[in-house]
Each structure stands twice: as C-alpha cells, then as structure tokens.
Amino acid sequence: MNHLPQAWGRPRDDVYGPYDASYLQSSHPQTHTQQPIVTGTSVLAVKFKDGVVIAADNLASYGSLARFTDVKRLRPFNSRAIVGIGGDVSDMQYLDRLLNSLDVTENYSSEGHGLNARNLHTYLSKVMYKRRSDVNPLWNQMLVAGLDGDDKPFLSSVDLLGTTFSSPTLATGFGAHLAQPLLRKVADDESQVSDVTREKAVDAVKECMKVLFYRDARSLDKYSIAVVTKEGGVELKEDEQLENQSWAFAETIRGYGRTQEV
C-alpha cells in the first residue's frame, strides 16, 4: 500500500504498470504567445516628496476596437504597493491572481513586515524574466509604485523581457513617447523629487493622461489614479473622468485623413 495520499484511489503501478504518458502527447508542436490580443495602453507614474502617484486609463482594446471600457489596470497589492499594468489583459489577470496568492502566503505569518514595493518589484522582475527565458513571456509592462523598506517613495518598471528600469517619472507604452518628456519637466532626476508636491505630481499625471487621450487612439477619457503615501496608504480612485478637455487644437491638424486645405 502506497502511503502517499496523492496515490490513493489510483491504479497501482505494480499491478498496472506506470501510466503511459505518451498518450498525453499531441502531434502539434507546443506554441506560445506570439502577440498580445486584448491590450491596455499606457501607465504613468510620478514620484513626489512623500509618495508616488500612478495612473492608467480604463480601456482594454481588441486591436483598434475599444472592447472593454471599465477595466481596472491599477492593481493594489497592500497598503504600500500598487502595480499598474499595460499590455495583454489576460496576462494581467494571471498576474493579478499570482499577486493575490502571493499576498495570501505572505500573510500566513504575522511576523515581519510584509512585502514593500521594492520587494514586489524584485519578485515581478524574476517572474517576467523566467517567463521570457522559457520563451513564453507575459506580454506586459508594469510600473510598481509605493514605498520601499525605509518608507521612501519607490517607482520602478519591469517589462515582458524582465528588463527593469527606475526613474522619478515613468511611463509605459505610448506614454513612454508622449508623456515621459512632459513628466521629466516635473522631476528630471532623483534630486528634484523632494521639491515635487503631491498636488504638482497629480496635476502633471492628469495633464499627461489628457495629452495621451488626445493623441493615443487606443486610450480612453475614463481612468484610474492612485496615490501611495506612508500616511494615507494606497488611495485608489477607479472611475475618474478626464476634465477640461479642449479639442480646439484638432482644427489645426492637417493630413492624417483629414481633408486637405482647399
């Protein structure tokens, strides 16, 4: 009698022989993700003197179709870390479940201090690099925002290759091209972060979300924004509307399918 519980109730190897795993083989080669399918666009984040502000819109696109308009792409982890995820939405859902189970196992013990944003970023970078090394990447770029072990603001990025990158301001996707230069006006390097107030950071992120909505055809004017500070923890708002839009500049656009000047 095999005393391993997982063998109970199964055909005995000594009577029936080991299971013939060749029946599990298929004639097709194993394939992996070649491209993202349902996607989220940019994630933006800015460090300020007491914390980090992070934002992403609520759209999941299916190609050029605005398929889902209430998708929450900022995933809070605990009271001092939040992850903003761009790229494939099903991979984002997998990552969300992974982080959920990580949080469950981390809380088995009441000792210690739990994971901070830096720990979480390291963990995610290992996950992403493992998957790219298996040639089966999770098709996402993520920003991890929150507080590090010294309760100092922390912001870092990890992408589908497992590449990590840190900066006082970060943007993924289309935002890396359009929003990043604008955000650098707020804080160009680490030494300037101490001069950035919460209001200034939030305003800069909101302004960039607006610029992105103007120019990124895969974006939406409904967005989520979160501020992480030591005092307030993660303050997440998931149903925000872009305000003070002005499409006057559109009049000046020439080309791109718009009727040429007569």
Binding site: M1, N2, H3, P5, W8, N58, A60, F68, D70, V71, K72, R73, R75, V89, M92, Q93, Y94, D96, R97, N100, S101, V104, T105, N107, Y108, S109, S110
Partner: protein
C-alpha cells in the same frame, strides 16, 4: 479499555469485534492531553484561543504560534500532537489554494471543513499510516460582500442576461471541529484538549445559539474559559494565544488575525479577576498523572 491485549489495536483500520477502531481511540487519547483549545462563533465574528503550556523557560514568550491562518479568512487551532497539527494546517492551505485555482474564489468554510474531514478520515483506512493525533478547530468568516472572481478586472456588460438572484443572504461566521476519526460538526462553541470538559461547561452557559454574543465579548469569554480550563493544571505556567475573524465591517475586515496586544491583555486581566472571584470554590485535584504536551 478491557479489549486491550486482544490484538485488535495493533493495526490501523482494523475493527474490533465490537466495532471499534482502537488506533483512532488512541489518537483521541493524544488529543485529550494537549493544551486546551476553544472556538466561539459570535454574531459578528469568530474567536479562537489556545492554552500553550510553557514546557521550558528557554522558549521565547510570544514566539512559537499555535494558531495558523489559512487563505485570508480562516484560522486553525489544534490540540494534540503539534507536528500533526502543522501538517493538518499545511493540507488546509493546499486545499484553499487549490480551490482558488479551480474556482477563482475563496473556499467556503463548510467546503474546507468537508475536505479536511475527508483527509483526516483517509488516515484511518490504511495500515501504512496512523490517524491524526489532533482535534482541530477551524473558524472563519465567509464574506457577505459581493466578491468578484479572482483576476477579474472589469464588471462586464451592464445589460444583458444575468442569472443572479438578488436579495439573497450570503456569508457569515463558521466554526467546525474535526476529530481524529475524520468526524466533523459545525459548532456554536467548540473546545478540545485537556480542559475541554470545563471549557464546554462554560461555553454552554453562554447561550451562543441565540446569536447575541458580540465578537468583543467573545474575546473576553474565550480568554476567561481558557483560564477556567487551566485550573486543573494550575502548577504549570501557560501562555494565552488568541485570534479572531470579524465581519467585513468589523475590526479585522473579514480577515483572520491575531487579537491585538492591548485587547488580549485586557481580556487576560478580566479573566484573572474573574478567577479570583471564584477562588472560594474548592479546587479539584488534578486528574491523573501530569502529562507533557
């Protein structure tokens, strides 16, 4: 036990002619010597408490926890062989995590208790294993809030077909006790271990079935009951460990957590005071030989 020596107690899973499984009964004996555990199902949460006999002065106070968390909303405490209890907790965590990977939602407490009861019972069926030397108390709170599926990132279409019945009541407190035989029942108040008789007598006085006891009062009662149950082994020092799970609106927000230090100390102080009040009662002689945990 007159049947001892007849040979029916030498192998697991073997019945005696009068229908008993002696190995299981011996496992129950191991439980009866363990530190007392108490669980109380209150109207807005569940309390778990354990009497930890201090077996050595070299043990760090407050370390070596005996109450474990399973998933986020379930606590497990057990009397009997501590390593068996740890394995039991490990299995409970595996069951909870496997449920999540299948159903993308937390395991309901009743389902967890059922899975664990089945697991423990399987250890009474084979000669290559021995039964669990623990009786475990499993307490938890099934969320009464509308929960999304794990990994859900949106709410889906606001119109279209739906199958949900509105206005149904879901969730609430749960308390189960699982014995070495695999037997498990749901309880309003559960006690096991050395002082279980005294503890059960105290629990019965609380009228838990009416559902009036608040979680805060439950914490004080649990502490007091552990002190009452300790009366018979007064010569030994002990540590009180307590945990609780409240409703989603309550102090732990539906999570299983240690009772905060200040509340625990207050409950212990009240328990000691209540014991002093009872001092005129004659203390009964300690039963049987002294046994290590």
């Amino acid at each position: 036990m007159t049947s001892i020596g007849t040979g029916y107690d030498l192998q697991n899973s073997v019945f005696s002619p009068d229908g008993r499984n002696f190995q299981v009964e011996y496992a129950v004996k191991a439980v009866e010597n363990g530190g007392t555990c108490v669980g109380i199902r209150c109207k807005d949460g569940v309390v778990l408490a354990v009497e930890k006999i201090v077996t050595s002065k070299l043990l760090k106070p407050g370390a070596n926890k005996r109450i474990a968390t399973v998933d986020r909303n379930v606590g497990v405490v057990s009397s009997g062989l501590v390593p068996d209890g740890r394995h039991f907790v490990s299995r409970a965590r595996d069951e909870a995590s496997s449920w999540r990977s299948t159903y993308k939602a937390p395991i309901p407490l009743a389902a967890l208790a059922g899975r664990l009861g089945g697991y423990v019972q399987a250890y009474t069926l084979y000669s290559s294993v021995r039964p669990f030397g623990v009786t475990a108390i499993v307490g938890g709170w099934d969320s009464e809030a509308e929960l999304g599926v794990d990994g859900q990132v949106g709410s889906g279409p606001s119109i279209g077909a739906g199958g949900k019945v509105s206005g149904t009541k879901a969730g609430g407190p749960g308390l189960y006790m699982i014995e070495p035989s695999g037997l498990y029942w749901g309880y309003y108040g559960a006690a096991t271990g050395k002082g279980r008789q005294a503890a059960k007598a105290e629990l019965e006085k609380l009228d838990l079935a009416s559902g009036n006891l608040s979680l805060e009062a439950g914490v004080r009662e649990a502490a007091r009951i552990i002190y009452v149950a300790h009366e018979d082994s007064k010569d030994k020092d002990f540590e009180l460990e307590m945990s609780w799970i409240s409703s989603t609106e309550g102090p732990t927000k539906g999570r299983h957590q240690e009772v905060p230090k200040d509340i625990l100390e207050e409950a212990e102080k009240a328990a000691k005071k209540a014991m002093e009040g009872d001092d005129e009662e004659e203390t009964t002689a300690a039963e049987g030989e002294t046994m290590e945990e």
